[in-house]
């Protein structure tokens, strides 16, 4: 596979967040989240994205073929996206993996992500998913990294006009109550691909 054959599709979520779908797997070892340049050390792709000028990148999340970038800087995705695309191609062309494997739990400071994962998974199975199922939805727990929970919404939640309310006022609130060690929730859903949202929007 040559670099020219790698296709990258950018899907801006808003001015601060953008998802990049890559035609080749970027990281096959689950989800990795980088919340600072220091955490990116050893992962060429994340290092390169944090180094993009004027983007003030705050977070990089890599999972399979999906790279999610969160930035604080005002530079538009039109320019930042090109740099992210170059970084992805360069990292895939490198001799080593684009993203280093997830550190083992014993090497990770702070909360034990594996233990958190189990608690969050239990909560999702016992309470969260039965609730969203009433609207034909489903919440998939993708990973827990540094006490940040990564989820993907599916069914009626995918593309739903109230998905952010479900995420922040529902899922995040329940996590704060039942698993207070969780520091945050990241939605990595491709909402644009939702074909059966429970609530669809109309201009008002």
């Amino acid at each position: 596979m040559s670099l020219a054959e790698i296709r990258i599709t950018a899907e801006p979520i808003d001015t601060g967040r953008c998802k990049f779908m890559v035609s080749e797997p970027v990281h096959a070892g689950g989800v990795r989240r980088f919340a600072s340049p220091g955490e990116a050390n050893g992962s060429p792709l994340a290092e390169a994205i944090f180094a993009i000028p004027d983007a003030d990148v705050a977070e990089v999340i890599v999972s399979g073929n999906l790279v999610t970038v969160v930035k604080r800087g005002p530079a538009p995705w039109q320019t930042v996206g090109k740099a992210v695309g170059q970084a992805i191609r360069a990292a895939l062309a490198g001799a080593g993996p684009a993203v280093a494997p997830k550190p083992t739990a014993s090497a990770t400071p702070g909360a034990d992500d594996d233990a958190l994962y189990e608690r969050v998974a239990d909560l999702f199975e016992s309470q969260v998913n039965p609730m969203v199922a009433r609207h034909g939805g489903r919440v998939e727990l993708i990973d827990v990294q540094d006490a940040v929970v990564m989820v993907r919404l599916a069914g009626g939640c995918q593309g739903c006009g109230m998905a952010d309310v479900t995420l922040r006022q529902g899922i995040e609130a329940m996590l704060q109550q039942h698993v207070p060690d969780v520091k945050g929730v990241v939605d990595i859903t491709d909402h644009a691909a939702g074909s059966n949202p429970y609530f669809a929007a109309a201009k008002k």
Partner: protein
């Protein structure tokens, strides 16, 4: 974890609004304790009774009583509505709880096109000549007494849904019947533009069984986004609408700011909008006004006590100063609205330096959406910041005047309004919607 003493905001979000993500994110950035109220219950309401609330958004008085009961346990410091209906509910709640907001009477008048026109005309604000008719009136009889060209419009439906220009008596009769059918399709007007599902909000009978017929005002159209603070209107942005809105239908497309209208024209528009809000008695919160400008000056076409609709607010950013890294820090329109509702400090309300624009992507035709091609190419266009397709595969697209949903939005920023407008048009030209009948 929020600090003790964090203000609690009640955010009124109808389930069909486009505004959810922008307002929820803004509330997080402002750092408020958030309660979201909708007309239908969230499946998480029992799990988070302080953060989620169900209110009857079709009945402001009842909603205010429900909010009062809620506030006994969860004291509220501010309330924000996001559209025409919830602006009235927010006013009722603000009045009941003693929060910052408009009076209910003013908010109601702003929502009803006929009542609004009547007050504005009485105050000497330039508005088209207008008459209200009942949907059961005989259009053939009415057609002889109407001056042409005219515009027929429902009193409450949003997003120019059901708004039709007629140039002849024959066209008037056809348009009248068509508006009547649109109201019938909306539940004989008993439900508003969110007319999906049996639980869509209801609107009162008189407004739903009436329509407005007014003179067509030729000229270029502009949209003023403003914020009222203690009765004073601050202009946040003035948008050009460069595509002619001459009918027969009035689907909107491009908004670009700053306006290319000469300075005296911009001042005249702002003065006209300020006179209009004063005439209606609006005093607090966001205002969205649409005006036409011709040789006779500005004419007030629509005024709403809410922020700009759809996802268009993403075209606006307000600078609040330098960050520690020498970069400009900005606020969204939603952050400005929330801060104002809570009585928090407001920045200078200066829009960013660059030109900005949004295109509400026109409905490409009637049919079921299968896919949208060319999105990546559109995003790669110069100055384009974002292309958002909000229609989902399998969704039925309905053209205006029956429709009210844009399939998506394009955003661009650049050095000049001309460059931004060109970028929006170029990006749109790269999109191809695949529909099946």
């Amino acid at each position: 974890m929020l600090r003790p003493g964090t203000p609690r905001l009640l955010l009124l979000l109808p389930t069909a609004t486009y505004r959810t993500a922008a307002f929820v994110e803004a509330a997080r950035r402002v750092g408020v304790d958030l309660t979201v109220a909708s007309e239908r219950p969230s499946t998480f309401q029992d799990a988070n009774p302080g953060g989620l609330l169900t209110l009857d958004l079709s009945d402001p008085d009842r909603a205010a009583a429900e909010a009062l009961a809620f506030a006994q346990e969860h004291p509220l410091q501010g309330v924000v509505g996001v559209d025409d209906d919830t602006a009235v509910v927010a006013a009722a709640i603000a009045g009941t709880l003693g929060l910052r907001g408009n009076g209910v009477a003013a908010a109601r008048v702003a929502r009803d096109k006929h009542e609004q026109r009547t007050l504005l005309a009485a105050a000497g604000v330039p508005v088209p000549r207008f008459t209200r008719y009942g949907v059961d009136d005989d259009p053939r009889r009415l057609a002889a007494g109407v001056s042409y060209p005219c515009v027929l419009k429902p009193l409450r439906l949003a997003a120019s849904r059901g708004v039709i220009r007629a140039d002849t008596p024959e066209a008037f009769v056809a348009a009248f019947e068509r508006v009547k059918r649109i109201l019938e399709d909306a539940g004989y007007g008993m439900r508003d533009a969110r007319c999906v599902g049996a639980e869509a909000s209801r609107i009162p009978d008189l407004a739903s069984r009436s329509l407005l017929v007014e003179d067509f005002i030729p000229g270029r159209e502009y949209a003023l986004e403003g914020l009222l603070v203690a009765g004073e209107l601050h202009t946040l942005a003035l948008f050009d609408k460069p595509d002619p809105l001459d009918g027969p239908y009035f689907e909107e497309t491009i908004y670009v700011t700053p306006s290319r209208l000469p300075a005296d024209g911009r001042r005249a528009v702002a003065v006209c909008a300020a006179r209009a809000v004063a005439a209606l008695g609006l005093r607090e919160g966001p205002v969205h006004a649409e005006l036409r400008v011709n040789a006779n000056g500005p004419w007030l076409i629509e005024l709403a006590a809410r922020p700009i609709g759809g996802r268009c607010s993403a075209a606006l950013r307000f600078e609040i100063g330098e960050t520690g890294k020498g970069k400009r820090e900005t606020l969204s329109l939603e952050e400005v609205v929330i801060r104002h509702a809570l009585g928090m400090d407001l920045p200078a309300l200066e829009r960013e330096q660059r030109a900005s624009g949004v295109m509400m992507i026109p409905v490409p035709g009637a049919g079921v959406l299968r896919e949208v091609r060319g999105v990546d190419a559109a995003r790669r266009g110069p100055l384009v910041e974002e292309v958002v397709i909000t229609a989902h595969p399998g969704q039925e697209l309905v053209p205006w005047p029956e429709g009210a949903r844009y399939p998506g939005f394009i955003f661009a920023r650049g050095g000049t309004p001309d460059a931004v407008e060109a970028a929006l048009r170029a990006a749109h030209a790269r999109l191809h919607f695949v529909l099946t009948s």
